[in-house]
Symmetry: C2
Subunit: 416 residues, 2 copies
Amino acid sequence: MAQRIVIVGAGFGGLATVRGLRDVAADVTVIDRRNYHLFQPLLYQVATAALGAEDIAVPIRAALNGQGNTTVLMDEVTAVDTGRRQVSTRSGRQEAYDYLVLATGSVFNYFGHADWAEHAPSIKSLDNARLIRGKILSAFERAEMVQDELARRRLLTFVLIGGGATGVELAGAMSELARGTLVRDFRHIDPSQARIVLAEAGSKLLAGYPDALPEYARHSLQRMGVEVHLNTEIKAIDDRGVTTKRGRIDAATVLWCAGVKATPDLSLADHPEIFVIGDAAVVHGADGKPLPGLAAVAKQQGGYVARALVDRLAGRTAAPFRYRDRGTLAVIGRHSGVANLPHFKSTGVLAWLLWAIVHLYFLIGGRNRLAVFLNWAWAWLTYQRGSRLILSGGSAEPSNTDSPRKPEEFAHGQHD
Amino acid sequence: MAQRIVIVGAGFGGLATVRGLRDVAADVTVIDRRNYHLFQPLLYQVATAALGAEDIAVPIRAALNGQGNTTVLMDEVTAVDTGRRQVSTRSGRQEAYDYLVLATGSVFNYFGHADWAEHAPSIKSLDNARLIRGKILSAFERAEMVQDELARRRLLTFVLIGGGATGVELAGAMSELARGTLVRDFRHIDPSQARIVLAEAGSKLLAGYPDALPEYARHSLQRMGVEVHLNTEIKAIDDRGVTTKRGRIDAATVLWCAGVKATPDLSLADHPEIFVIGDAAVVHGADGKPLPGLAAVAKQQGGYVARALVDRLAGRTAAPFRYRDRGTLAVIGRHSGVANLPHFKSTGVLAWLLWAIVHLYFLIGGRNRLAVFLNWAWAWLTYQRGSRLILSGGSAEPSNTDSPRKPEEFAHGQHD
């Protein structure tokens, strides 16, 4: 009988694994709670109305429909039984495996303050990106209507917590939304007066970037009207704003952009048939530091696991995983970005262009590529954003509950 | 003091009114529960994964931001006080008016069976189009997983109730989705075996169309694999399917495409300062029959009310409203449509092309036009649909509660 390989999660890591198993004579099953693969690096653009939800996702079935050895199940894994080697799903299914790849993603790390998630959601899924978009745009709508000046200031204050790439990109996008797109839309408020605060606990933005790049990012954001607060640890978050080490900021919208949480190791020592990849895994790089939660890391790990499985099925031993750092890029705003590539550091227009080209290149699906390119070109030419709709589907408030489940749930081998 | 004109609803009728008041020296206020104007004729394409939600809507503020005499409020009108001439809103606002235009849209007419709405939702809003898309796609996903053959048949049966333009277009789109787009995506089911039933109580489809057009539509749909059941009155709808005069159809998905409900008259006899337009109004045409609930009717009425207001503000008497029928178009599927224009009846490729050109022409916003054109061109070339994402925002089931409120609510002049 053919070997059964079960892959949980069809993000960058999971999809790279499945694609790497294209020509293997095995039964491959992919299980994901959603029917689509998400291009997560552009999620903040959905939240800030630059892109539509449909532009940055591709149906998993469409991405894999030429792959005859693969079954896709839209279902949620609720337990892994490492003894019987099977996973249980929410729909009541038992899927037996010979090899299991867990690529279940991560949840945002609130550093022990799980209750903050309610007031400061993080942009993690397509559903909640759309809800956060609604929250941001609704703040302007409500500010247009209130009479009280203090309430208006609070509605027009946006606090972003965490000065990594996510926080920097989001701050830049928020500034362009308020000072570019919305600027002529209201009669009673001036959206360009919106206060956008980027609070970072450390002493610089983009901590992982070398040389002058963090300083460049800070200057660029400040030129765009963003208040950058460094060395500003968060003490408390409530429904009226945040309290930092340096004082109180009243704000209707607080977004969490700080680190993601991950737990197990790439391969389980006592279960060599189980692999954990992507954001769900902590893997240490050549420098001894954990690899960052990047799409590139997940994709390389997925490709590696696929090759390792091909080797194992053929009776060979796989070489150990080694991450090849091809660099990182972040965009700040119009004509402004930072590039940290192995032999090339750059800021400004060139980094901004490079960012756009690389992201278009890695998007899956020609239609998405075209749609994102046209959305960007349109926004660049007109300063307008095409996706400025406040959509909801029942609940009006963004919730953090649709973040990927915690990887810890899979560390135990128990039935429900 | 400038006269105050309040317009409730920014659909086709409301927006046409506001735009017609561009150069009037009056304070114009538009109140809508949503921040966007929706191109409703293409809503079924969002529900069948051909278009993204963002492609067929435009922010009301963006559509009107050059119009200096106009304030846009995202709010919901809860009562009209015709004595004091003011409307109350959900946020607690009181807006005084000298003239009031009610363009609040319609709800689907379940002909006295309000309880059917739960099992057979109608595609009315962008939020519920997305939920219905999720419901349709989820039925295929669940069918892929169940073992029981009867359950699988039920999941793969889709019943559309009502053979007007909405039902015909939706049936065609469902057939293309199942037999074109999804056909290679599954391992355990054959989506092309999905049963798509279009049930119509009358003796023909497209009852408003003359000559051979209804017969052409029936033949086209049948060639596309749609079961057309004429003279098939619905007796009951429950969560397992529908019971018709001719028997039982077990189906996981039932969609309501029958008539919309409207109530008051264009101008209120005892309140000449209040206009009711669009789907919210019943106006009789030259032939004595009520005008249909079409975008064209709403837009002409909106333009008319604007001109009538301009006349009144200038002390002139307005000529009565007369609807100019410029014809109707419906699309059935690839290369197949019907055109019923004043001096031109046509079926087939020509009608299909005409439909596409007219709809692109009337879409608001260059970006939306481009996005829809590219989505269509892409789908036409590849048979793929770009928007095949099962998105949700809390509730997993489509609800009918986000249909526009009933126009009757405005017929009474009371505070909450």
